[in-house]
Subunit: 262 residues, 2 copies
């Protein structure tokens, strides 16, 4: 009998990687056949993480309840729109979540934390707290920089990794073809359709268990068959799975020191 370590060595030497192919990132699943590298900054532009007002944080220094600051509202940036140029001091700009930050502005104060005043056709906000630079802003490149590894070869594509890949605008990824797996359960005690009524048989539980486990990994099963304890029939079924180009054949039973173990 060979040891576990010897068996692992024999297998490792015989194994070849499965062929790989390209998949659109949006729908990709399986195991990555190569590293995925970022080619751009993510986020691609600095944007607001809140619905509120973009401010220059330095102008808010000293704002308190008994020393409120008043800023003129110069426009509103909706998501997907370009930001206006705002040169005037003591200005702010209404901004929605995901919208691009106007140049020179470095913080967002949420809409719930300001008082909005409309006076003589002009809009102001009243702030009674100082706002730290960077507050509620997702800065360009803060998640990924060009050249950074997003995901590594051999990694299983789970929904979270997919999200990072899509955020980096990677259009397609290289994944390994899933293995073709055949399941062979052996044992004359396993129930089959054309068995004698009174023979002491048991239901085949290993086969459906293995099939369900493989399905859970998102891998299609190349077939499941059951045979009795005949070395010739077992050989024949193994040959069948090899003819179907199975990459893995899982055999249950026939592996001890009994008269029907081969």
């Amino acid at each position: 009998m060979i040891t576990y370590k010897e068996a692992i060595n024999i297998l490792s030497n015989a194994l070849q990687p499965l062929p790989d192919f390209k998949m659109a990132s949006e729908q990709a699943h399986g195991v990555l056949a190569g590293d995925v590298i970022s080619t751009e900054e993510v986020p691609h532009f600095s944007n607001s993480a809140m619905d509120g007002f973009a401010v220059r944080s330095v102008e808010t220094n000293g704002a308190k309840t008994d020393n409120p600051l008043r800023l003129v509202v110069r426009g509103c940036i909706l998501a997907g729109e370009l930001a206006p140029e705002i040169d005037q001091k003591e200005s702010c700009c209404e901004i929605m979540t995901g919208s691009v930050m106007p140049t020179g502005f470095d913080a967002v104060i949420p809409v719930e934390q300001v008082e909005l005043i409309d006076k003589d056709g002009r809009a102001f906000i009243v702030i009674n707290q100082s706002v730290k630079s960077g507050r509620n802003v997702r800065f360009s490149g803060e998640d990924f920089k060009p050249g950074q590894v997003i995901a590594k070869k051999g990694q299983l594509l789970n929904p979270h990794i997919l999200m990072a890949i899509n955020a980096n605008r990677v259009e397609s990824v290289s994944v390994y073809r899933p293995p073709k797996i055949g399941i062979l359960t052996t044992g004359s005690e396993l129930e089959t359709v054309n068995q004698e009524e009174n023979s002491p048989t048991i239901p085949n539980t290993n086969g459906p268990f293995l099939q369900a486990s493989i399905r859970r990994m998102g891998i299609p099963c190349n077939g499941m068959v059951s045979v009795g304890d005949s070395s010739q029939m077992i050989l024949e079924k193994i040959q069948n799975f090899m003819d179907l180009e199975s990459d893995i054949i899982i055999i249950s039973g026939g592996v001890s020191a009994g008269k029907a173990d081969f």
Copy 2:
């Protein structure tokens, strides 16, 4: 605004269970729509857990290295075969894993732990240890008895539960139809195919994330669409998903206090 608890209450009161249907146990997946009850004893008959020799344990009492016991081998039971009747004292029977135990025999000694002797055309084994009653025997009904609950309504069918269901020869189970889930991502900042070149857009990451997460649960997705911040378009897409008889519509975006939140 309603509280989280209020929202859960509204949902709980509005929810109806999905229709259920029968599936063959071997292939079943999803959530059980009813308890699964055992109608028989599992194992169905007492059988050997090892390749070895069935013995009457009481006869082995006192067997030691310096007081070995000799038992006549009366036949061999292969898996799936009926057991012979053995009346003679000081007898044993060769038995393979999964084979039915002969009446009156209550233990199995593994083949590796005996010495097999062939003398004048008769076979004996020599045992130099006592064997405890029940050793290496899987007794009838030791896993399940008739009337016992195998799996409960509401349980997700994983491979292990499937194994128990199949071991109990339950041919079909009642499962809920999987929900039809529609995914709607909103936000004018999300990239679409017919957008202006220089608009500050971001890739749609929530949509593919939700779709991959649903796929991982083995539930087919009823579609994924993305719309800009137009209340009319959002309503239209929700209506589309309702026309497709979606059970669940997951909407991402448009849920704060912004100008494009409805």
